[in-house]
């Protein structure tokens, strides 16, 4: 009989603890939605002698050498004069350069850029590529082949040949 009297009190304390846990979790997960990270125009960055590039306007600095190794192999001494970078609305960085066969989609992490996707865009290497931002979508323009490739972090969305 006494045991039966104790049950509601136990349930009450269990409920209180659970409520507190939920409240605490909610405080840690403060989230602002619908953030647009997109750059309206690409940045064209020139690597220094160590391969570092800095985009002063958008506040990012990284080394291009890991990309060169990815693109041309560990032993290659291939260099690039310019690196082209644009960020989409979700916050992914799209990076490519002359002679690259790929566009690298990088996700920013704490002090690092993590490869999200490597999109193949050319068989022989790009010649004078350029990124544009059109309606929140990143477009890669290949002026030599008059091709416009619409990209997302997942890959190619659309490829158009322009006459």
């Amino acid at each position: 009989m006494e045991d039966q009297k104790m049950r509601p009190a136990r349930y009450l304390s269990l409920f209180m603890v659970t409520a507190l846990l939920f409240a605490g979790t909610a405080c840690n997960k403060f989230v602002v939605k619908n953030v647009d990270y997109s750059h309206k125009i690409e940045s064209v960055l020139t690597p220094d002698e160590t391969g570092s590039v800095t985009d002063v306007r958008h506040g990012i600095s990284f080394n291009i050498n890991p990309f060169l190794k990815q693109e041309f192999g560990e032993d290659s001494s291939h260099t690039v004069d310019e690196v082209r970078l644009i960020r989409d609305s979700k916050g992914y960085y799209f990076i490519t350069a002359n002679d690259f066969k790929h566009v690298y989609v990088m996700e920013p992490e704490k002090s690092e850029l993590k490869l999200e996707n490597r999109i193949k865009v050319s068989d022989s290497g790009l010649n004078a590529p350029a990124f544009n931002m059109r309606d929140t979508m990143v477009q890669l323009i290949q002026s030599d082949s008059n091709t416009v490739v619409t990209l997302s972090a997942k890959g190619k969305i659309k490829q158009e040949e322009q006459s």
Binding site: K40, I41, E42, V44, R57, R84, A130, F131, N132, M133, Q139, I141, S143, N146, V148, Q162, S163
Partner: protein, 423 residues
């Protein structure tokens, strides 16, 4: 059918051209490249504005700015993003403002340039006229020196010589005024730009170069002072003194500009050389003018003592008049001593204030306040210097004595009458 076959290649060509045209219209350009193209064209126009040398060039740049604006207007939003924190509209407005400023500046330069060109012609003609006058005065001076003619003829030669020198001075003053009007208020940047144009107009030669003109005027005037001593009067030296004063005043205001514009590659040396020559000219003309004034006063038996400067002359005048006034106050003036006053009064009123008045004021030999002060002193002197008549005091004394005599006589006769009655 054959006709149709003839049209096929033409039609194909037109279709191909249309397709190419359409292709060009649709071909997407890199936004970054568009921004770079805009920046390049903008920078080119900005440089063109900065380098423009004529208003005409600026006018054509305005057309190019309008064309740039029309070309990129549809990309305004993109360029606003790309040019952040600047904006497309802000940059175009800035470029237009820059072009407006340049146009304003070039209009002033162009105006000055026209004035400089006109002045160069004027200088050339002045130089010719001054040279003619110079040769005329040289001949007259030689004729005076070698004259064996009558006094009347010699006097005529001297008068012509002085007149010729006066004309020369008038021309120099007119030229100096033209120089001042042309070069006053030029800013250093305008001088630098005008300098380029002056060089391109080949004004380096002596005839049209104001720096050479100024130097030649100084040299010629110093030569006149060295060569002519007997024929010139105080009035001539006063006029020459005024010319030197005006010359120096104008040089102090525009000398820097003229030396920079026309002093070849040594503007500082040019300026220093002309400064030094002006100082020498000032020294010479002042000495001659004061010596001539002193000689005139001596000739008219007015002893002001020594003076060699404007201030010294004023002090001498003031001391002389005050001294003479005090002396007149202390003793009874006679009509002979009154002549001293009259001699000074004639010098003061008829020479200093009237005949030489213009030069005395223009050359600031005496300032207006100094002239007023001396005027007041002269009036005091005049009051004290008037010779007094002794007739009235004598008559008064005589009358007094007569009255006293009559009173005594009257008193005595009464006394006599009184004593006889008692007896």
């Amino acid at each position: 059918m054959r006709r149709l076959q003839n049209y096929i290649p033409l039609t194909l060509l037109m279709v191909a051209a249309l397709l190419m045209g359409t292709g060009q219209t649709f071909a997407q350009q890199s936004d970054y490249q568009l921004k770079v193209n805009f920046e390049n064209q903008y920078a080119e126009l900005k440089a063109s504005v900065d380098e423009a040398m004529t208003v005409k060039e600026i006018d054509s740049i305005f057309v190019e700015i309008d064309s740039l604006e029309a070309k990129y207007a549809e990309h305004e939003q993109l360029l606003d993003n790309a040019l952040y924190p600047d904006t497309y509209e802000g940059q175009v407005a800035d470029l237009k403002q820059r072009a407006n400023n340049a146009e304003h500046k070039l209009t002033i330069i162009s105006d000055k340039e026209e004035k400089v060109a006109a002045l160069a012609k004027e200088l050339s003609s002045y130089k010719t006229e001054i040279a003619n006058l110079r040769s005329q005065t040289d001949s007259l001076r030689d004729a005076i020196a070698a004259s064996e003619n009558s006094e009347a003829e010699l006097s005529q030669l001297v008068a012509s010589y002085r007149e010729s020198l006066e004309k020369q001075d008038e021309m120099v003053l007119a030229m100096i005024d033209s120089l001042f009007a042309t070069y006053k208020g030029l800013q250093s940047q305008q001088i630098a730009e005008l300098s380029e144009k002056v060089k391109s107009r080949s004004l380096e030669g002596e005839k049209q170069n104001p720096a050479y003109f100024i130097q030649s005027v100084i040299t010629e005037n110093m030569q006149i002072l060295e060569n002519d001593s007997a024929s010139l009067h105080t009035e001539d030296y006063l006029r020459m003194y005024v010319v030197q004063e005006r010359f120096e005043e104008v040089w102090n205001q525009i000398g820097g500009q003229i030396a920079t514009l026309y002093g070849s590659n040594q503007p500082q040396q040019w300026r220093a050389r002309i400064n030094s020559e002006l100082e020498e000219w000032d020294h010479k003309v002042s000495n001659r003018m004061w010596a001539s004034m002193d000689a005139y006063l001596e000739e008219h038996q007015i002893d002001l003592g020594d003076f060699e400067s404007n201030e010294g002359f004023y002090t001498a005048l003031e001391d002389f008049v005050k001294g003479a006034t005090d002396a007149s106050r202390e003793k009874v003036m006679t009509s002979g001593e009154y002549q001293d006053f009259e001699a000074f009064y004639d010098f003061w009123n008829n020479k200093i204030k009237s005949e030489w008045g213009t030069y005395v004021q223009e050359g600031e030999v005496l300032t207006m306040s100094q002239i007023s002060s001396i005027d007041q002193e002269v009036m005091n002197w005049q009051d004290e210097a008037k010779p007094r008549s002794f007739i009235i005091p004598i008559l008064f004394g005589a009358s007094l004595l007569t009255i006293i005599g009559l009173v005594i006589v009257l008193a005595r006769s009464r006394h006599k009458n009184g004593s006889s009655t008692t007896n």
